[in-house]
Amino acid sequence: MAHIHLPDGAFSLQWIAVWWVLAIVILSICLFWLTRVKKIDNRKITLAAMCTAASFAIFQVNVPLFGGVHMNLTSLTGILVGPSLGAIIVLIVNILSAAIGHGGWGMVGANFLVNMTEASVAYGIYVALGKLNVSTFYKAATGTMVGLFLGNVVMIAVILISGIQGVDQSFTDMLYGLSLLAAVNMGVALIESVITGYIVSYIHRVRPDILQEVTPIAGAAK
């Protein structure tokens, strides 16, 4: 949901490189985890493909709320397939989005970090609330909302740290403007969290085995 909507050239080359390097490091850790620690089975690959298609499809749609906003289902992706496989999906969706002209190529690394935060935090909260035996809808919805909020925080931090080339906006003005933007985004986060909550609770009802792999502790209690 949070996405750095700036054209190529807004960040200096040095900062584009920094965010790309950070993204590659995180991606490498996720790939190491998937290949050496927790190997993925074929069913997860199918689920990941579905998440990629859904995320890419919905991300390009400008929703006419509050003047125009986007959803991208990264939190749903994180909850369903976990952050490590979610990292690959996030990268693919960001690259494909840049390929069709939605966001700059130089922003892919930074946007990967923003979306990765959403997926990881949503997953973490979902698992944590599962330990408190909170119902599936509420743990998925709350996880999504907090994940999207922190995604917005990372988005603001990345822009403020990088700075924007060729503008004379002060740090305070930029922080104020971006905070307002993030605040409007949170209204959409509320809608995305309800959608995610319904999708996850539906899957929990019809195919609980898929979610049991995500929350083995909560699953074992059932």
Binding site: H5, N42, I100, N133, T142, G177, A183
Partner: protein, 91 residues
């Protein structure tokens, strides 16, 4: 074996508190900024020159970002790949 009772009340309370805070903040920010597109909001926030958006109004206000043809081609390829993976591996 009976299914354990979900901690529904706790879930509702946590979700409602977070949702109300974010909704309040969102409405407040929207009142201050007014109706703007996402690109316009970004440009204004960071001080970039704003381009007037004269694009199509889409279907019921829903519009597509980027190149529409590329979007459809890439989406078709992803869906085809997903279908092939599904047939091969199932879920």
């Amino acid at each position: 074996m009976p299914e354990p009772q979900n901690n529904k009340k706790l879930g509702i309370i946590i979700f409602a508190v977070v949702a109300l805070i974010f909704l309040g903040v969102c409405i407040y920010a929207y009142v201050i900024t007014g109706s703007q597109g996402i690109e316009e909001r970004f440009a204004k926030a960071v001080g970039l020159p704003q381009e007037s958006d004269l694009g199509d109004s889409g279907i019921l206000g829903f519009t597509l970002e980027g190149n529409h043809l590329s979007y459809l081609i890439i989406l078709a390829v992803i869906l085809l790949a997903t279908a092939i993976i599904y047939v091969k591996y199932k879920v």
